[in-house]
């Protein structure tokens, strides 16, 4: 009996000492962080934390009716220090409770910091055990991260979650890229693919998540507009649905809105005899006609065929613009073509991997083939006739 007890105590002791859970902190002892902004201030870093007041958030129904309508449900605290870790700790002089940043919904990186390189700052976020790999990362275009984090939204009491949701909507739009910390680290670390992060823009009383920030190594080099971003999303298979505006065949000023339902891209890498990489991207999309401005005069089959052709052209244009810009302007292989080359021709890749982005990538031939399908034309097959 005594031996059994001793074994039991020993096992418990081993468990307590050899596992990570040694410290319990109650939920009430934590301040819940929902958004983290990282700015550059000279040679120091300014970390901005958006801390939620849970009671103000959850008492939405009764609380807002009771009074104090304009009261914010969150607090923004920022602190300047040499490292992120020190800045976060430094905040404890301004916040009474330990900051719990596993709950961070979004991490905003300022343009300035991105331009100077993210390598030095990503380390903490990856190394620390409390950061959440599922936090989405976004670059604040033309503004500071602090301003984004401070932004108040009328629709939501948790701005961090609001931004996160708008980024997540990208799969229905394709105008920005949803990327979390883990993927960001992967894109940074993988050979033959450059980092690209979605961008957030400040608007009058809100923000817009549109566009893409293109990185070369770890430094920001430029931006895609939203159509180029959609091209990027098509090629990298990130799109689930999107509305594509297609000109009408006979009256080009009138537009047809096609709702994409399905999109899949297939990449084929070829190496020509003169050691040139040729990449063929085969896109298969299908969608429904969702909106049509011009009155349809042809029969429905002809109309669908024309629309399909125009749709193929439109998508092809998006993709080609994106590729061209990344090749010529940024010289940054954000699509990860290099990875495919490595998969197909590892020996060739070894010989070019050092100069891939600068010399090889801008000159490779990329062919985009789009195969579109119109599935349905909506509830009405013809426009209503105004008489």
């Amino acid at each position: 009996m005594a031996r059994k007890l001793a074994v039991l105590i020993l096992m418990a002791a081993v468990m307590i000492n050899c596992t990570g859970c040694w410290n319990n902190r109650d939920l009430t002892e934590l301040s819940i962080l929902t958004a983290l902004g990282i700015d550059k201030k000279g040679d120091k870093i300014e970390v901005t934390a958006q801390i939620i007041k849970p009671t103000d958030v959850s008492s939405s129904g009764a609380g807002s009716a009771g009074g104090g309508g304009g009261k914010k449900s969150y607090v923004v605290v920022s602190h300047v220090d040499k490292t992120i870790f020190a800045a976060l700790r430094g905040m404890l002089s301004k916040v009474n409770r330990k900051i719990f940043y596993s709950s961070s919904q979004v991490i905003v990186i300022s343009e300035e910091l991105a331009r100077s390189g993210v390598q030095d700052y990503i380390d903490f976020i990856l190394r620390d055990h409390e950061t959440q790999f599922k936090s989405l990362v976004i670059v604040a275009k033309g503004t500071s991260a602090k301003e984004i984090v401070q932004q108040e939204y009328e629709l939501s009491k948790v701005p961090g979650a609001f931004i996160r949701d708008t980024i997540k909507n990208s799969d229905a739009r394709g105008f920005t890229k949803e990327i979390n910390l883990l993927e960001m680290a992967r894109e940074l670390a993988s050979e033959g693919r450059e980092l690209s992060i979605g961008t957030i823009l400040k608007e009058d009383k809100s923000t817009i998540t549109e566009g893409l920030a293109i990185f070369h190594n770890d430094k920001l080099t430029g931006y895609f507009d939203k159509y180029e971003t959609r091209g990027y999303c098509f090629i990298t298979n990130r799109i689930k649905s999107s509305i594509i505006e297609v000109p009408h065949n006979e009256k080009p000023e009138k537009l047809i809105g096609v709702e994409l339902m399905k999109s899949s891209a297939k990449l084929k890498v070829g190496l020509s005899t003169d050691k040139k990489i040729e990449i063929t991207i085969k896109l298969k999309v299908s969608g429904n006609i969702g909106e049509q401005q011009a009155i349809q005069e042809k029969n429905i089959l002809d109309f669908c065929r024309c629309t399909r052709e125009n749709l193929e052209k439109a998508i092809k244009k998006d993709c080609e613009n994106a590729i061209k810009k990344s090749q010529q302007e940024f010289k940054s292989d954000i699509f990860g073509f290099g990875m495919h080359v490595f998969d197909e021709y590892p020996d060739y890749w070894k010989s070019v991997s050092d100069k891939w982005n600068d010399d090889i990538y801008p000159n490779i031939k990329v062919k985009v083939e789009v195969e579109a399908k119109i599935l349905r034309t909506g509830l009405i097959s013809k426009n209503i006739q105004i008489k």
């Binding site: 039991l8 096992m11 418990a12 468990m15 307590i16 596992t19 859970c21 410290n23 319990n24 902190r25 109650d26 939920l27 009430t28 934590l30 819940i32 939620i52 849970p54 009671t55 958030v57 959850s58 008492s59 719990f100 596993s102 709950s103 919904q105 409390e130 959440q132 948790v158 979650a161």
Partner: protein, 538 residues
């Protein structure tokens, strides 16, 4: 042949425990031994009626309920003593059927045929037994029989007239069922055996009796169906019962603690039931039932954990619904054991795994509460136990007040006063209510819940895992009368799965539980033994 009963190991604990009691009652024993020695010499019933009378009066001195009546045996002029305890039976029957025939005895027969004549022609009593030892006659009197001593004879009679006051056979409060029999066992042993006998009309259904308790001399009955039950188990039950050294058996729970496997079992290893149909079904599966006089609760062994989740209604059709309910019972048992611990572990250690929106809600409800989640959970869980216990102990009329105080004052007010958070009140109430769904495991569940709660506070999910491992190992190791406690899960018996988590229709349950009916009458329809073990048992 059968190595599933490890006699040496199972009895080791029992024996040591017995020794303790033996030491405690050493002085008592000695005096009893002395008296036993004395009675050996004089245990015969004395021929002289005066001697009988003297000894009876000695034995029953200061027993006001003891009645001794001296009459004359008709025309023979022999003196007869009738001794009994008052109140066990109707006095009119005694006067009509015993005293009258004896007094009016008129026959001209030889001296040596007198006894036979008396037995066969005079005493019109169905239950008549010869007695040769005086101590037997005394215990007979004590159990409510009438003893008849005749002058000049070494033999006495024991006449069973017993028709005691008894509670009518009613529905037991502890186990109610919507369908099926509403009969319940009563305090009277004979009534109880009849309830069982009526359900198993078979001579193979054996009802063996014995007595336990040096002071109380309580009647115990062991029931089983010969041919279905494993004889090893029957022998084991008898052995364990015989080894019990106790002066008083007031309830079946006394015996339960002596015969159960292990000295301090955390989970019940002996079945309890007040329903004859349930006990009959268990006996027919190959179990042994132990009935104790004066207790409506019948013990059944061996007991497996899955029996705790079985209910009578499971077998009354709608097997799909019964399966669903069985799963629900298992699920709610886990809820009742784990929920408070999980809440504490998640809020204190692993906030990361809470979905963000849920975390906001939880954080908001916990805002301003002065206690840690653990303390809060402990308060609520203990409060629930207090309320439960109070509801049980109180007179029924006040029960309503308890529920009102419990629900409104302790629940609602605690939340609005900021002493407990609303989710925790829900968790404590849910885990408490879930524990009622599986009544046999309610007590062990409450203890396990507390252990898990404490472990969760020290080590988080790791602690919960630790306790779970320990308890699982303990349960896997546990045996009840040689049958693995977790069967049919560990060891896995696929045939037993028909009545485990999922219930198959009765016509599909054509075999008895393999862990119980080893070899013998395994197939219900054909009565054939198990194909692998058939030859092993006779």
């Amino acid at each position: 042949m059968f190595n599933f009963i490890k006699k040496k190991t199972t009895f080791k604990s029992l024996k040591t425990y017995d020794n303790k009691i033996k030491n405690q009652a050493a002085s008592e024993k000695k005096s009893e031994k002395a008296s036993a020695k004395k009675s050996k010499k004089e245990d015969e019933i004395p021929e002289a009626i005066e001697e009988v009378k003297k000894r009876l009066n000695e034995e029953f001195s200061l027993c006001s309920d003891f009645v001794v009546r001296e009459i004359v045996l008709g025309n023979t002029g022999k003196r007869v003593i009738i001794a009994c305890i008052d109140g066990y039976f109707d006095k009119a029957i005694l006067a009509e059927n015993i005293i009258e025939p004896i007094v009016n005895f008129k026959a001209d027969i030889k001296e040596n045929e007198l006894i036979i004549h008396l037995k066969n022609k005079i005493l019109s009593i169905s239950d008549l037994k010869d007695l040769t030892s005086f101590s037997d006659s005394v215990s007979g009197i004590l159990s409510g029989d009438v003893a008849v001593y005749i002058d000049g004879e070494h033999t006495a009679f024991k006449l069973g007239l017993k028709a005691p006051e008894k509670r009518p056979v009613g529905e037991p409060d502890t186990e109610t069922s919507l369908k099926g029999s509403r009969e319940g066992f009563s305090e009277n042993l004979r009534t109880n055996t009849v309830l069982l006998r009526r359900r198993i009309k078979n001579t193979k259904f054996k009802i063996e009796s014995m007595r336990i308790g040096r002071k109380t001399n309580t009647d115990i009955i062991i029931c089983y169906v010969e041919g279905i039950v494993s004889q090893e188990v029957v022998q084991e039950v008898k052995d364990r019962l015989e080894q019990i050294n106790i002066d008083a058996v007031i309830a079946s729970g006394y015996l339960e603690q002596f015969i159960q496997d292990g000295r301090y079992p955390l989970f019940p290893v002996v079945g309890n039931s007040e329903k004859p149909d349930k006990v009959a079904a268990k006996i027919l599966e190959g179990r042994v039932a132990i009935l104790v006089d004066g207790t409506p609760t019948v013990l059944t062994v061996p007991y497996m954990m899955i029996e705790s989740f079985q209910a009578q209604e499971d077998y009354f059709g709608e097997y799909y619904f019964a399966s669903l309910m069985r799963l629900l019972r298992v699920f709610s048992f886990f809820i009742s054991v784990y929920l408070p611990g999980l809440y504490v572990a998640v809020t204190a250690f692993h906030q990361t795994i809470i979905p963000f929106k849920l975390m906001l809600t939880m954080a908001a409800t916990r805002e301003g509460i002065p206690f840690s989640a653990f303390l809060e959970a402990l308060i609520m869980v203990v409060t629930f136990e207090i309320l439960r216990e109070a509801g049980l102990r109180m007179p029924r009329a006040i029960g309503q007040a308890v529920s009102i105080v419990g629900a409104i004052v302790l629940g609602d007010a605690a939340v609005s006063a900021g002493i407990a958070s609303a989710p925790l009140v829900i968790i404590a109430a849910l885990s408490g209510i879930c524990s009622f769904i599986v009544p046999p495991l309610m007590k062990s569940g409450a203890v396990t819940r507390l252990i898990i709660l404490i472990a969760a506070n020290i080590m988080g999910l790791m602690g919960i895992g630790f306790v779970t491992f320990m308890v699982t190992i303990y349960l896997c190791n546990k045996k009840s009368f040689g049958v693995p406690y977790l069967s049919p899960f560990a060891p896995l018996r696929t045939s037993g799965m028909k009545d485990a988590l999922i219930i198959t229709p009765i016509w599909k349950m054509y075999t008895r539980p393999a862990s119980l009916a080893k070899g013998r009458d395994y197939h219900r329809t054909t009565g054939k033994p198990h194909r692998n073990r058939g030859e092993q048992d006779g």
